[in-house]
């Protein structure tokens, strides 16, 4: 009986986290299209519901009622597993995101490593989908994406090491609390810029959306997918984007901390601040999509390996030397 009550409590907590995340994923798709449209002097989706807010809901309804087509020569098990893997991995990472000092589903010791591990597993959904489709375009898209995501993970990992040097702990709440006096975006600004660009590449957003480059690969790894399975890829992709924004907000923008530590601002709950910061980063993501043309593939690889990796490694040495020289290393 006691077990059951614990299980029910946890399930309730998980639902309380997952449902808002799923709803905000749908909303964020609308926001993305809206920002994109405004930059190009269009209106964007504005018909369904007030300001077109229900557009994503209408789209989801349309996807649900479409037929799911499974190609006869595909590898059926892996073909069906791929969107499920993408979606699941994008959602389980939210378990460690702290919304305030106490509001976190799992306050684990190695929170940042968990986030990094889950985001690095995200590549499997794409590879599985591309390979199982048994078709040329999806396969090329999957191979491109695997190479791209593995390369940019390396620089994201090194950037995380930069932040960890200043914090001295792998716990996400500790990382947020360490930014009480100064957000890490100020001392580590170049790393924030590199993190932002690497996050674009990691989530296959424009200008690095080569895995699904419409002009060359039709739609990359999604070509053979239809109906709800396509929608799951799509939702997983946006959930991943939100996750990278949350990671950026926690690592560099002070997480749930209020920007100014004075009376009226500290009344606002931490979750609201975190959501505002995620939204800010997401609007930046959407703006980049609207204003930057797509990279060529060799230049994308060159940027990752020959520019970002040496730069962030040098910055690790700089940060470590600075902290050591001025005796600022966090010791506990």
């Amino acid at each position: 009986m006691e077990y059951l009550s614990i299980v029910f409590q946890e399930v309730y907590k998980i639902l309380f986290l997952l449902v808002p995340v799923l709803v905000s994923v749908a909303m964020i798709v609308w926001l993305d299209r809206r920002v994109w449209a405004f930059v190009q002097k269009r209106q964007g989706p504005n018909v369904v519901g007030p300001f077109g807010l229900l557009q994503s809901l209408a789209d989801a309804l349309k996807y649900i009622f479409k037929e799911i087509i499974i190609p006869s020569s595909s590898n059926k098990v892996i073909f069906i597993l791929a969107p499920i893997v993408t979606m699941t991995l994008a959602l389980i990472a939210w378990a460690v995101i702290p919304f305030s000092a106490t509001q976190v589903l799992a306050d684990i010791n190695v929170g940042i490593l968990y986030l990094f591990a889950v985001s690095s597993l995200g590549v499997y959904g794409i590879i599985m989908g591309g390979w199982a489709s048994n078709s040329k375009y999806p396969f090329l898209g999957a191979i491109r994406s695997a190479a791209q995501m593995v390369s940019y993970e390396v620089s994201i990992g090194v950037i995380i090491i930069n932040v960890l040097l200043c914090v001295g702990s792998l716990n996400l709440n500790d990382i947020v609390i360490a930014q009480q006096n100064m957000w890490f975006v100020i001392p580590l600004f170049p790393m924030f810029v590199i993190f932002f660009i690497s996050a674009l590449a990691e989530t296959n957003r424009p200008p690095f959306d080569l895995p699904e480059a419409e002009a060359e690969l039709v739609a990359g790894y999604q070509t053979e997918y239809s109906g709800m399975m396509y929608a799951m890829f799509w939702l997983g992709e946006y959930a991943n984007i939100l996750l990278m924004c949350a990671m950026g907000a926690i690592l560099f923008l002070g997480g749930w901390m209020s920007p100014i530590d004075v009376y009226p601002f500290t009344l606002v709950p931490g979750a609201i601040w975190l959501i505002l910061k995620i939204l800010l980063l997401f609007i930046l993501f959407a703006l980049v999509k609207a204003i930057v043309p797509r990279y060529r593939y060799d230049q994308l690889m060159r940027l990752g390996w020959k520019i970002f990796l040496p730069l962030s490694l040098t910055w690790v040495v700089l940060t470590a030397s600075y902290l050591f020289y001025f005796n600022l290393l966090p010791v506990n």
Binding site: Y3, N75, I78, I108, N109, V110, L113, Y114, F116, A117, S120, L121, V123, Y124, I127, M128, W131, F139, I143, A146, A147, V150, E153, G157, L170
Partner: protein, 210 residues
Amino acid sequence: MIAHAIFFYTFSIIAVVSAIMVTASKNTVHSVFFLILDFISISCLFIMIGAEFLGMIMLIVYVGAVAVLFLFVVMMLNVAQQKNQWFAGQTTSKHIPVGLIISTLIFFEIIIVIGGWKYKPEIFDINNSLANTSVSNTHSLGQVLYTDYIHVFQISGMILLVAMVGAIVLTFRQRSGVKKQSYIKQISRERAEGVEVLEVQSNKGVKIDD
């Protein structure tokens, strides 16, 4: 305790079954997917014994990087063709003696380790290990690696670096006749170098040297 046992047996059964399936499945890509499943369940077991740092590093390094590259290579192979050569064409197997020797060696190693664990329990006494139990295992691992054994750690890093440079040198080949773009050259081009304004007289034309 019951929940703990249930999780332990679930993960270990998945680990063992997927390890068997890695060698048993005929499709090489399926083998790699089973290998990934094996890695994931092993890292779950690591987390269950309280070694959460090792478990996460296992996920990041093996599943996130090594297995992706593995999958990458295996997908490039022509699987159908390979199946014919490897399984159907191999009537007299020369691999069995070598495999037998290696597996016997590994079997005896495991016997020695388990025997030591059974009959000399003080070898595995927690007090003999260098790990300090009062801090989290990330801290104690850092303490052991970067303070007590820093030189060994540095040497192993150098060996890895040498291996990496060696692999690059061995596979690197300079191809001739490939047009390369120099980014610096492209960006630093001035208008004066690229554009020339000519007076064209009527009925005469101009000669442009290529």
